[in-house]
């Protein structure tokens, strides 16, 4: 099995085998370490039946305390780094019919304020924004999700939720549902509690976003 994994994994990771047009779509340069290459590898892994693939991209803590964290500099670069490959990945999955049974989830662990962060009341050199746990956006595509739907609303400031709040546990319940799990049943006994992925509070599947 170790042999098979090593042989198959190297093949899956070898994006040299992709045609030039595909590499261009992703903005991918083989040999480089980039989110674009990761996206392409993700598609190749999914094609080979890999069930869970996590792509990680970092450098989004855009407080504005230095150029890398500035909205108009580092943050803009981060956006460029992910925008094209994500579009290419979704287009690729759709074209190959894989979006029918693949769920793509994009998100972070919190949002950011819509107003500028100025620490200690001082105007900072670079423009950035602080953490905002009160409201943020996550999108999903593919398996069982209704395309073109937006759900939930913040106030005009983007600070707090005013309509159709989705708790993290609701998101998890929804993801589990489209993966075919009953989140009430998917639990394990630990420390005297039936631990659930949706925590102890009542969760709900956001039926409004289901196809």
């Amino acid at each position: 099995m170790a042999f098979r994994m090593q042989m198959d994994a190297t093949d899956a990771m070898d994006i040299h085998k992709e045609p030039a047009a595909v590499l261009t779509n992703y903005g991918s340069k083989p040999g480089e370490s980039s989110f674009a290459n990761n996206c392409l590898v993700a598609r190749r892994l999914a094609e080979r039946g890999v069930r869970f693939i996590q792509l990680y991209h970092w450098g989004w803590d855009s407080h504005g305390s230095n150029a890398k964290e500035a909205l108009n500099l580092g943050f803009a670069d981060r956006c460029r780094e992910v925008d094209q490959p994500i579009a290419a990945l979704l287009a690729d999955l759709k074209q190959r019919g894989m979006l029918e049974d693949t769920l793509v989830v994009w998100g972070g662990e919190f949002g950011r304020t819509s107003m500028r962060e100025n620490r200690f009341g001082q105007v900072m050199q670079f423009v950035g924004r602080d953490h905002n746990p009160g409201a943020f956006t996550i999108w999903m595509a593919g398996g069982g999700i209704k395309p073109g739907t937006t759900y939930g609303e913040t106030d005009a400031m983007g600070y707090e939720i005013v309509k159709d709040a989705v708790e993290i546990r609701d998101l998890h319940a929804t993801m589990l549902y489209v993966l075919g799990f009953d989140y009430h049943k998917l639990n394990y006994s630990f420390q005297g509690l039936e631990q659930k992925l949706t925590s102890v509070k009542p969760a709900r599947v956001v039926a409004e976003v289901l196809a």
Binding site: R96, G97, A165
Partner: protein
């Protein structure tokens, strides 16, 4: 005078035996009354048999005066001998029915004066039945015998009244008079029946905008079947009447109205409604309630009289429910296939699975076998062909030589032939797969000539034709056009 069990008659012994559960029931009623909280399901299940068993004691109690009266007619002197037995049976069956009734009331979420009256009525009926049983014949020919007769009359009256209250509980408060003809109503001087809510006009803001909110979110707990906290929200009158905690709507004052307060609490609050993680009201729905209360909580105010009301506010999306999987039934459906499935799983590891835990349908995915799977292997799938609903032959060595084997998979919903040698010939042979929803021929040599067959698949949603000989601007019918994915 000494009492000993042996000297007692059989009747007295059984009478004392019946007294114990009767007293126990009184205690239960006093200390564990129905309080509107739903409890164990099995108790509710057993409790429902109250509705069945209750008719037995009723009939017996009504039978006793019939026996007593008919027995005085010279032709049926034997009838009176049955009275004692009937009363004993009535008492014991009443105790059984009472116990079931208490189970139902205590666990079924009942509360309020109606159920309380019904229960005490039941207790007194059983007690009277017991008393009559004990007194029957004891003072025969004495003046005190009138107590027995009087007890019987009261028992008959009480059983009728209690039964009527029970009917109101299960069938609705006006279950007897609901369909009374107008003439009779007038003669009895009953109020003329009002169809539907008295006050709420059908074109009113209440009926059009507010009631659907209650129907969608509230009535499963505050409606005809359950009245949590003695509150119903299924008619204008019920909404205005309020519940255990009093009036919930203060006309003109949304902020001061319990109804509005409860739905606008922070979602985690214990008093937030709808409770127990049920879908909360949308902001638009909350707005509708607020506007309605602010405008005076009127039953008749026209729907268009309130300006700025959100339209189409009521969510039409039903909550997701999870069905219990009956594993035994699934096993049964899988049994005929089991040996063929096991055989195939042995020959091709990891390619054949049931579609889900609750299904006997099969999913085949041989794409991971790549070139190791070819036309010669297709015959192996034949015994299970009609159970296969999803099949993925992508990246395998199959050619048009496999088409005949795929064509017999009559229930296929999803078919993937990505990166294979199949051509138009295969597609033309699949025209009868009328369950097909998704077909993938990405990266094959399929040409526009194959598209005419697409019109024969009534359920088709997607036909993946990227990297084939079909150009993106291919000339096809509108119906097919929308399904092509390039």
């Amino acid at each position: 005078m000494t009492f000993s069990l042996r000297q007692m008659s059989i009747r007295t012994r059984f009478g004392l035996l019946a007294l114990a559960p009767l007293l126990l029931l009184v205690t239960l009623l006093l200390f564990l009354p129905p309080d509107g909280v739903e409890r164990a399901e099995w108790a509710q299940f057993i409790g429902r048999f109250h509705l069945l068993s209750i008719h037995f004691p009723i009939a017996l109690i009504l039978l006793v005066p019939v026996l007593e009266i008919a027995g005085r007619i010279r032709r049926f002197p034997d009838l009176r001998a049955s009275v004692d037995f009937s009363l004993a049976l009535a008492t014991f069956s009443a105790i059984v029915a009472l116990t079931l009734g208490w189970c139902l009331a205590r666990s079924g979420g009942y509360s309020g004066s109606l159920v309380t009256q019904h229960m005490w009525g039941g207790i007194f009926v059983a007690a009277l039945s017991w008393l009559c049983w004990m007194l029957h014949g004891r003072f025969l020919g004495q003046r005190l015998d009138f107590i027995y007769a009087f007890g019987l009359v009261v028992a008959v009256g009480l059983v009728s009244w209690t039964g009527y209250r029970g009917g109101q509980l299960s069938q609705g408060e006006n279950h007897l008079t609901e369909h009374m003809p107008t003439v009779l109503r007038a003669w009895l001087r009953l109020p003329q029946e009002d169809k539907g809510p008295t006050a709420a006009a059908s074109t009113s803001f209440f009926t059009i905008c507010v009631e659907p909110v209650f129907a969608g979110h509230c009535n499963s707990c505050h409606g005809p079947s359950k009245q949590r906290s003695r509150l119903r929200l299924d008619s204008y009158e019920a909404v205005m009447r309020g519940g255990k905690h009093g009036v919930i709507v203060k006309a003109g004052n949304p902020q001061g109205s319990e109804l509005f307060h409860r739905v606008t609490l922070p979602a985690g609050d214990d008093k937030f409604m709808p409770a127990e993680g049920k879908r909360p009201l949308s902001a638009d729905e909350v707005k509708l309630l607020e506007l309605w209360i602010a405008a005076g909580a009127s039953p008749s105010l026209a729907a268009d009289a309130i300006k700025g009301a959100p339209t189409n506010a009521v969510s039409t999306v039903a909550d997701v429910t999870f069905e219990e999987i009956d594993t035994a039934a699934v096993e049964k459906r899988r049994a005929p296939l089991a040996s063929a499935v096991a055989q195939l799983q042995k020959r091709f590891p990891d390619v054949l699975e049931y579609e889900s835990r609750g299904s006997a349908d099969l999913v085949v995915n041989v794409s991971l076998m790549g070139a190791k799977f070819g036309d010669k292997d297709m015959a192996a799938l034949k015994p299970l062909a009609e159970q296969i609903v999803v099949a993925d032959f992508s990246d395998t060595a199959i050619t048009d030589g496999s088409a005949a084997f795929i064509a017999v998979m009559k229930r296929l919903r999803v078919l993937r032939l990505m990166h294979t040698q199949v051509t138009d010939t295969t597609l033309h042979m699949l025209g009868d797969l009328n369950q097909l929803e998704s077909l993938n021929v990405f990266g094959t040599a399929v040409t526009p000539g194959a598209l005419e067959v697409a019109a024969r698949w009534p359920k088709l949603q997607h036909l993946y034709t990227g990297e084939t000989k079909i150009p993106a601007d291919v000339q096809v019918s509108e119906a097919v056009r929308g399904k092509l994915v390039f």
